[in-house]
Amino acid sequence: MNRRLGWFLGAGLLVALVLAGVVSNFASSHPDGLESVIHQGCEFNEDDEIIGGECVAQQAEDHELANSPFADYGLAGVDNAFLGTAVSGVLGVLVTFAVGAGLFWLVRRRGPAGATANAPDSDGAAGSR
């Protein structure tokens, strides 16, 4: 990995961290497309609990990890929603990058040291270009 790629990755990560850590607090809190469809036919109270009617979401069960510290992009024990979302967003971006880059690094095609995209396949893997 050369330095120019390092700068690009750093800048990209910074954008993702700002989006997830800051901008996310200004996101719409209305149900998304799927959720609104499975809510059709039911009535809800202010806590978003079903109080009547019939809808798909009636059968929805709690998440297996509903009580985990970062459930629903919050922070358990912290009432400040802004802080909870920011911490969850930053953590999520970092974990996703670490897991993704780590996984892809482990399964990557091994070329010669310092290989670039133009390097020939040394291990005989089927080249795609």
């Binding site: 990755l9 993702a16 059968q59 297996e64 509903a66 459930a71 974990v95 996703t96 270009r129």
Partner: protein
């Protein structure tokens, strides 16, 4: 009930059908990783990690599409353009697994359903459009932007209908009006979500193509030398 639920939760689709799609997801991802390994060099591996992280961030940004209804990026078309269909599918799946395990978003028993819709169907549909459009549209940033936009709209719509298929096979209640009404109810908002996603995806890939056209998989694949020279011109001119 959760405040920010983005994906299919537990209990909506019955156990056997959820398990069957879990198997579909595992087989699909195994194929994607095996095929994608040929693309995955020292440069694409960290780039794919960044694409996954960016999709995670973008999925937190719900935007309004109708009164009382929001939507967020799914990311299949975006990932397919930036890192290719195979690794792109793995990127979206990585995001979904982390959301389910760390943020209790999208049931764990429903993970196979969500991965099938968004990572497999969404990325595959998006990539088919990309492969077709990049061959016919003008070889410039506008063509790339239009490609990202249209591929995103189709990708989101296909992913949404994936849920309809799953509901037909294993829905735990009856949707008022039947499965046809469910398909229509899903199609409307998700067409609008696709438009929002298309704008985000087009802006993202055009930005990357201006800065580092060599990092855009779809440009390497379908527009090797001439497109790179053209795409590099605005970057040089703007600097």
């Amino acid at each position: 009930m959760s405040e920010l639920a983005l994906h299919i939760s537990n209990g909506i689709i019955n156990g056997p059908v959820s398990a069957a799609f879990g198997a579909v997801a595992i087989v699909g991802l195994a194929i994607a990783l095996a095929r994608g390994r040929a693309d995955l060099d020292d440069r694409l591996a960290p780039m794919a990690g960044l694409v996954a992280a960016f999709i995670f961030a973008a999925q937190m940004l719900n935007f309004a599409v109708l009164p009382g209804v929001s939507g967020h990026l799914l990311g299949g078309a975006l990932a397919a353009i930036l890192v290719g269909p195979w690794i792109g599918a793995a990127c979206v799946a990585t995001v979904l697994v982390i959301q389910a395990l760390l943020f209790a978003d999208g049931g764990i028993t429903a993970l196979g359903l969500n991965v099938t819709n968004m990572a497999l169907l969404g990325t595959a549909a998006g990539y088919l459009l990309v492969a077709a459009l990049l061959r016919v549209l003008p070889r410039n940033l506008t063509g790339l932007g239009i490609t990202a936009f249209v591929a995103s709209v189709v990708s989101v719509s296909v992913a949404a209908q994936g849920f309809v298929l799953q509901y037909l096979l294993g829905g735990t209640t009856d949707f008022a009006g039947g499965i046809g009404a469910l398909a229509v109810a899903m199609a409307g908002p998700h067409a609008l979500i696709g438009i929002g996603e298309g704008i985000i995806a087009a802006a993202t890939v055009v930005t990357v193509a201006k800065v580092r056209p060599d990092l855009v998989y779809a440009l390497r694949r379908f527009r090797s030398a001439p497109a790179r020279a053209q795409a590099a011109v605005p970057a040089g001119g703007a600097a």
